[in-house]
Point group: C2
Chain length 150, copies 2
Amino acid sequence: MSVEKAALAEKLAAFERTCEQQGLRLTSQRLEVFRVLVQATDHPTVETVHRRVLKKLPRTSLDTVYRTLSSFEENRLVTRVGGIPGSARFEANMDPHHHFVCAQCGLILDLHSQALDGIQLKRELPKGYEIERAQVELRGICAKCRDSQA
Amino acid sequence: MSVEKAALAEKLAAFERTCEQQGLRLTSQRLEVFRVLVQATDHPTVETVHRRVLKKLPRTSLDTVYRTLSSFEENRLVTRVGGIPGSARFEANMDPHHHFVCAQCGLILDLHSQALDGIQLKRELPKGYEIERAQVELRGICAKCRDSQA
DNA sequence: ATCCTTGCAAAGCGTTTGCAGGCTA
DNA sequence: TAGCCTGCAAACGCTTTGCAAGGAT
């Protein structure tokens, strides 16, 4: 337990350092949002983070959690899990394949990889879990966006 | 070209078969939405599909496209690309790792896989493309959902 | 003729934004 | 004190839904 506490303290210290470096003011709300997320293992929604923050800071608003998480994301303190930002996208290609997603422009590229197809993933999962579609999603930067960036 | 036309015709025939099997009425809108998606390579949004459908069927409404795509998805005629359905989810774990997502209950599990980490993906991509985060997202069914299903 | 499907309109939900007051540095 | 951050409220965009008319079987 004391090991976990030490790890938490270290992460909070790193958090404060990053805030200072990035010019983010250290408010009680930000600290609590970060603490909630560090202690979470369930990849919570904004709503859920808000509910947990309210236990310690009952006057915190949902918008603040939204804004806080966005600024954390920009400063690489937290990650938004999964999901291609924007609206839903569809394809009729039902053959098993993978996707490369450009993090900047949202371009989606079909990807075929023998290496990916061949991986034994089942053994990495807990018992009882079943892979329905071993679809892989890679995030990156496409050629066009990389050029316009540089 | 005639090869592609034949392939298209075959897919449309399979489409009609599936519709009949599933008791989906064959309407001009459904046929056109499917045709647009079969011919698309860019994983279009609902909005984009709608715009393309309008070229042939100018009175088609956006809601119909939404409803059509949803029913197609249920009948495994098309796939929704990427994205964990529902609201955004966050984590503070910034170490590189992968995710298993339960297609049914939305559970997200952190996944560590030497096999995944070691894959050479760069060579599968077109020139100029760069992988920012080689994060893999697997979709499947978790133990709990599989049990309650059976 | 039946009843599924469509178009229209309105509502729903998650998320973002403008503003005035409060708090950090 | 200066300016960022917060809470409140309203707006926003994407998606879903209720309803009556239209169309497929």
